[in-house]
Symmetry: C3
Subunit: 275 residues, 3 copies
Amino acid sequence: MVRHPTITFLSDYGLEGFFVGMCHGVMIRGCPDARVIDVTHDIPRHDIQTGALALRDALPYLPDGVHLAVVDPGVGGARRAVALRTADGQFLVGPDNGLLRPGAATLGGIVEAFDVSDSPSRLLPVSSTFHGRDVFAPVAACLADGRDPATISETIEVEGLVALDLPRPSLRDGIVHATVLSVDRFGNVVLDAGASDLDQSGVRIGDHLRVETDAVTTSMRLTKTFGEVGLGEVLAFIDAQHHLSLAVNQGSAAGRLDLAPGSSLRIGAPGPTQM
Amino acid sequence: MVRHPTITFLSDYGLEGFFVGMCHGVMIRGCPDARVIDVTHDIPRHDIQTGALALRDALPYLPDGVHLAVVDPGVGGARRAVALRTADGQFLVGPDNGLLRPGAATLGGIVEAFDVSDSPSRLLPVSSTFHGRDVFAPVAACLADGRDPATISETIEVEGLVALDLPRPSLRDGIVHATVLSVDRFGNVVLDAGASDLDQSGVRIGDHLRVETDAVTTSMRLTKTFGEVGLGEVLAFIDAQHHLSLAVNQGSAAGRLDLAPGSSLRIGAPGPTQM
Amino acid sequence: MVRHPTITFLSDYGLEGFFVGMCHGVMIRGCPDARVIDVTHDIPRHDIQTGALALRDALPYLPDGVHLAVVDPGVGGARRAVALRTADGQFLVGPDNGLLRPGAATLGGIVEAFDVSDSPSRLLPVSSTFHGRDVFAPVAACLADGRDPATISETIEVEGLVALDLPRPSLRDGIVHATVLSVDRFGNVVLDAGASDLDQSGVRIGDHLRVETDAVTTSMRLTKTFGEVGLGEVLAFIDAQHHLSLAVNQGSAAGRLDLAPGSSLRIGAPGPTQM
């Protein structure tokens, strides 16, 4: 067993209240020399997809170790609590609701899966609403402390793990069909499409795009920075996580284009093409 | 002296501004190998009771060490700054306004108390508004660093410490008389009553409860999870800190029942009983 | 090279989203034994002056080490990324837009400056919008890890660094001419003037002040604590960072006096003096 003294922690608990603080406490009790890195606790409540994508996008920048993620609308119900060992020897810990799958893929895929729902390392009595503290945090601490997962859980079939059906962009006749993944607090709109999808449709940095939503059709430029367009103008850019994103310089693209998570768009070169 | 290299930190400073960050800085300057765990900084401003209950409820999940808590409406006035040694050898540090007492009780009670108001470890000049940084944080760091409290403070009488008058539920004729302790951001209502109070009134998980506020009388089920009632329905449950709580599945119990901290309720089995 | 295993981190990234978390991850990847202290991430977006003053005011309370600060409206443009070695052997890392200069002055001034824009330690490909993660965090980690800055950057002229034009109070005929630096979430108003400016105008703690804004003229007392005036009354006090500040006991001074960052005021002893 290699020691994993770093635990990263992502959740939808928010920083209001002491939910995150108690989980930190439990992890340090379980593994006194662990370092805990908060990735974010600002995932919209119960939004598994947003949590899964945030975890996947953050992992390349996080140190190796145990990655605890809790977005868990099914807490207290029948869903399993799991620990996943990845091809590169790291662990993901959280509910078996698809949250961990995209992240596991970026770490080389899952080589072994464990059901930790009844782990001897959980805190008794287990509450019905706060498994982050009572199940997931103590299991993450045990793994960070170098315990063999077989001693604290049961091996399960990787094939039986719950999958997550993520939106994927498609390219038809030079038009990218994309979906809104999320909208940030500035009204910037993040799409499931990325730079390679645009490449395939023949669009380059500096080109104009035609963006068609269910409500409006707009033309905008694909720029590298916001400052390349005027104040209040809409633009497209590749964000720091490599997603195609729409923004308004000093304004809200979500407001302007009436977009929300799940909205669909069609994106292509401007011109007579029928989208 | 046993070393206490862990400091937990709870306050009403909020995460806006740099108040919490400066206190962290002071603690690490004072005890470079300390680990500081933020419990929460989201206690409502100057709300000693909420801070005291959060500290008490969190302590069982926190590692042993020094517990710094600052909710301090009397800062700059005559109230004392104190450090309390508990029966199990831990320290609580904060203002002598009752904030630390319920937490101390969960750690076995106070065996020794120290006035640190004029501690030589405080930062000079002491500001009149930010004793968290200038008095409490440096004292917590000294104790975490293993200093003998007698060298940085004066022993005082435990009996002279300010007490806190917490609401307590009462049981009369099978009816639990309870008080609202807090309302969270989802509108969930936390009561001072717990599972044992319900036991005494003969209510079991799955049973219906009659809940009477000053405004309305409602029937609801005592469930284990929110999902056991329909969307928009009210329910009662035992929360992860063992408090009886009221919620509306995907809604606000505080709004529905017109409850706020301090509101009183009467809870019993449904039926002809006069509450 | 002395090791600097502590990194302090200030930004305008907010705690929403995972920007801060990814920077933490990158720092720990780059310097696994670094301790990262969050000073604040709540600087108003792109507000270099507020960030610079917060960093300057916090530094005396932070442990020695590397101080990472990112308020970077020019990200992706021509502004340089820099590391500054101060007279006392610490480092400041951030954009060359004036943000680091007031802080550097409190650490004895800058003795050596480095352009890290093209540092070999940056993460490739560098995004055009998130240099905190891709440039500044890895450079801060390298310096914390004890690397010689000459091996990861180019020396540049200290004289060529961008300066910051901070508001400064002036004293004319016994009247302090001051400017609002910031307004906190309670409506407390922080001025560029401090205790020494008042001393020069002959005002002492306990005295009354005449405060003239562009809209109103008010009299208030210079107190040590809020509680020295009645509920809803306005007062002046020296805040914990030594700034003259205006407040309303349990209310908003910014609202009452119609003040915002940048507003100018004239402050003096009450009486017939013409301000």
